[in-house]
């Protein structure tokens, strides 16, 4: 590989670390120079994290948040993928369903909070439901456009070899749409992770989202607020990286020409 085109291995690792270090330094000195009493410095946050870890809350809350997102996102994928594939496959059905869906889609999951509480009460189910809503529509839309963008030439080849409609869907349309479906899943996982924070703030008393609001309400512990924010950011990044990895599987990599 040309070293001009591709950054070397150590470079790909070193530059992000350097940038993070720079960011921490900037943060530290901003706190020191501004003499703020409220906003915590990185070291205070680190102590806060250690405190949370000692109490056992950190791992428990991370687990709770991840479980809710897994449930909500998982349900959205399990229901949304077949639903989206069906809509993409039968444009007539899509024409009937599409107006309703396009109207529901721009409603922020946050706006559903009162309705969700009315339906499921204050608790885990409400939180999971809100996360589900957030992830569901992007998945469905990705599947519809994924199916619509399958080149006619592939469907034609499939029909030529004598495939029945269900076989065509399973052996041609689905694998051909898979790269786009994966992109949709990745985006909706990101949104699910965002909405998790709001859902936990109002519906439950555990999890990282709850930690943010609880640390502020009970004693203005901004070191813990920022610690929770930091964890949300790091886990969100890791989830996204994992999903990106899926794009390297050879049977879908053809659909990700520009990403590596």
């Amino acid at each position: 590989m040309n070293s001009l085109a591709e950054p070397r291995k150590w470079e790909r690792f070193v530059w992000p670390v350097l940038a993070s270090a720079l960011f921490l330094l900037l943060w530290h000195y901003s706190v020191v120079w501004s003499k703020t009493k409220v906003f915590p410095a990185p070291l205070a946050v680190e102590k806060g994290l250690a405190e949370l870890a000692r109490k056992g809350v950190l791992w428990a809350y991370m687990g709770d948040s991840l479980r809710r997102v897994a449930l909500g996102f998982g349900a959205a994928a399990v229901i949304g993928i077949p639903f989206g594939l069906t809509l993409g496959w039968y444009p007539a059905v899509n024409q009937v369903v599409n107006p309703v869906m396009q109207m529901l889609r721009p409603i922020s999951p946050i706006a559903w909070i009162p309705v969700a509480i009315l339906l499921f009460g204050v608790g885990n189910v409400t939180a999971v439901f809100l996360i589900f809503l957030a992830a569901f529509f992007p998945i469905v839309v990705a599947c519809i456009s994924g199916v619509a963008n399958v080149p006619a030439i592939y469907r034609r080849a499939g029909r030529n070899f004598g495939l029945t409609a269900p076989q065509l869907l399973a052996r041609v349309v689905f694998p051909a749409a898979l790269p786009q479906i994966l992109v949709g899943l990745r985006i909706s996982l990101g949104i699910a992770w965002l909405v998790m924070v709001a859902a936990e703030m109002i519906a439950v008393d555990s999890g990282l989202g709850y930690l943010v609001i609880d640390a502020r309400n009970s004693g203005k512990r901004y070191d813990l607020v920022v610690a929770a924010m930091l964890m949300i950011g790091i886990i969100g990044l890791l989830l996204d990286l994992c999903f990106r990895r899926l794009g390297n599987i050879k049977s879908v990599r053809w659909g990700f020409r520009d990403e590596s």
Binding site: A157, N160, R171, V172, S251
Partner: protein, 258 residues
């Protein structure tokens, strides 16, 4: 092979009074105008014509992907009513499935066969098109010519009695194209399928075909069918070759000089 061997014996395909009119936005465009064509069993027929004249439309109609506005296409005496694995349509190499390996692509149409039968067919056709060593490769890792050979192998694996090729070598560079022509002829001699080959390249047609059908501009019909009575391998500087080629060029109203 001699010319006598390729003389048509039995009629494989007959198109009678095929008309095709496309309607879009209330405007109707006639594309095919009374096309009549007979193709013999095991024959290699090339269809040439000006670009956009409806060659591909005719081929799609033969493949069963389009039904004619009027008239009919019969294969083995039966009216074509839809696509069928007995006649496989080969596109430019864009038709291979990028999510499957070379093996997976060739195996694609063999789902009704037993596992061992599938294996032996895949191995046989990988050998035939010279893709040994690339069994586990994905199309993205192959060159254009290799992808084209893969698509031909995928088509041949289901033992079709007809191959419909739509400008199959159009996207290849000129050297690969020459090699592919030779390969196709070799495979055709082995398999004895009926081949209908659409191209806009008159040289290609005269090099490959038993007969060349020359189409007019749109709305197209078949102006003339030229029998290429030169045995393979063909000498492309022989007087007879040039005579036939120039005849077709003239038929299409093209000058001999650039």
């Amino acid at each position: 092979m001699t010319v006598a061997e390729s003389v048509m014996t039995e009629t494989k395909l007959s198109a009678q009074h095929v008309q095709m009119v496309f309607t879009r936005d209330g405007k109707s465009t006639p594309v095919l105008n009374d096309v009549n064509l007979e193709v013999g069993k095991g024959e290699f027929l090339c269809i040439v014509g000006p670009s956009g004249c409806g060659k591909s439309t005719l081929l799609s109609t033969i493949g069963g992907f389009l039904s004619p506005s009027s008239g009919e296409v019969k294969i083995d005496g039966q009216v074509v009513s839809g696509p069928d694995p007995r006649r496989i349509f080969v596109f430019q190499e864009r038709g291979v499935f990028p999510w499957l390996t070379v093996e997976g692509n060739i195996e694609f149409g063999l789902f009704k066969l037993s596992r061992s039968e599938r294996r032996s067919r895949v191995a046989h056709y990988i050998q035939m098109v010279g893709l040994q060593g690339f069994e586990k490769s994905y199309p993205a890792e192959l060159s254009g010519g290799m992808k084209q050979r893969l698509e031909v192998a995928r088509a041949l694996a289901v033992n079709p009695d007809m191959l419909l090729l739509d400008e199959p070598f159009g996207a290849l560079d000129s050297i690969t194209r020459l090699i592919m022509r030779g390969e196709l002829l070799r495979i055709w001699r082995e398999e004895r399928n009926t081949v209908i080959f659409v191209t806009h390249d008159i040289d290609e047609a005269v090099q490959l075909a038993d007969r060349v059908a020359v189409m007019s501009g749109r709305p197209a019909n078949i102006q003339q069918i030229v029998k290429i009575d030169i045995p393979h391998p063909r000498d492309i500087s022989a007087p007879r070759y040039l005579e036939l080629r120039n005849g077709i060029l003239e038929q299409l109203g093209l000058a001999h000089q650039v």
